[in-house]
Symmetry: C2
Subunit: 134 residues, 2 copies
């Protein structure tokens, strides 16, 4: 909340805030249960709605639709409509989605080592700091 003149002028606060915002943007784009599976799935090749629906099983059409729309807004996939009867809709991963590579690589390797580390420390004291293994 803005209270006007109460700025506690901590020098690096703005920078930190900018970083936090940027990181949050990135996290926001990947959040939720289905974004990753969808990105990975579509990276295997273009697919139709029901193809995706089968491959990423468990997702409902509504959610799939919503997720695809978000991925499209973020430029990760393109939605191509072919005017057949009935229409054919193809979802396709874009080159832009490749810009995620470093991010995803870092997340993956860090996530992997972290799970190992947590499993270690769960030996001496049971904790619940990660979601269950699927």
């Amino acid at each position: 909340m803005k209270t006007g003149a109460d700025q506690e002028v901590i020098p690096s606060k703005e920078e930190c805030n900018a970083s936090v915002n940027a990181i949050r943007d990135a996290l926001y784009v990947l959040n939720g249960k289905w974004k990753l599976p969808l990105i990975f799935t579509l990276r295997e090749g273009p697919k139709r709605f029901n193809e995706i629906h089968k491959v990423v099983y468990g997702i409902t059409p509504k959610i799939l639709s919503k997720e695809l729309r978000e991925l499209e807004l973020n430029g990760f996939v393109v939605r191509k409509v072919y005017p057949t009867t009935p229409v054919t809709v193809i979802y396709e991963s874009t080159p832009y989605s490749c810009t995620l590579r470093n991010v995803l690589d870092e997340l993956r390797s860090w996530g992997f080592q972290h799970r190992e580390k947590i499993k270690q420390s769960m030996r001496q004291s049971e904790t619940k700091s990660l979601p269950a293994e699927v």
Copy 2:
């Protein structure tokens, strides 16, 4: 590429799944509204509960308590209790939290360029693919 053997080279579903899980672990650890601010704040130096409560303004004691517990479980902070009267509790960032550096760097730079990119494409068609700037 494979020379046309009858073996379908299906990019192992297991691998993708493992990647997705690892990435999800990493995202899980950073999720929510307060994890990043807290990590950044504590990286400036050890702090007491109410200090954090003031610096990360907007957070409630309950949430702060919960978030700190999670950060502790993940090994990012240590909670040191000094038996003064009343007790003094110091939260302190650990060396392990530095292992996040690459991840956070990638997320930050990608997030930054992504917001720029989205702002661009919002020129031609208004979209709402990112949370509002704070």
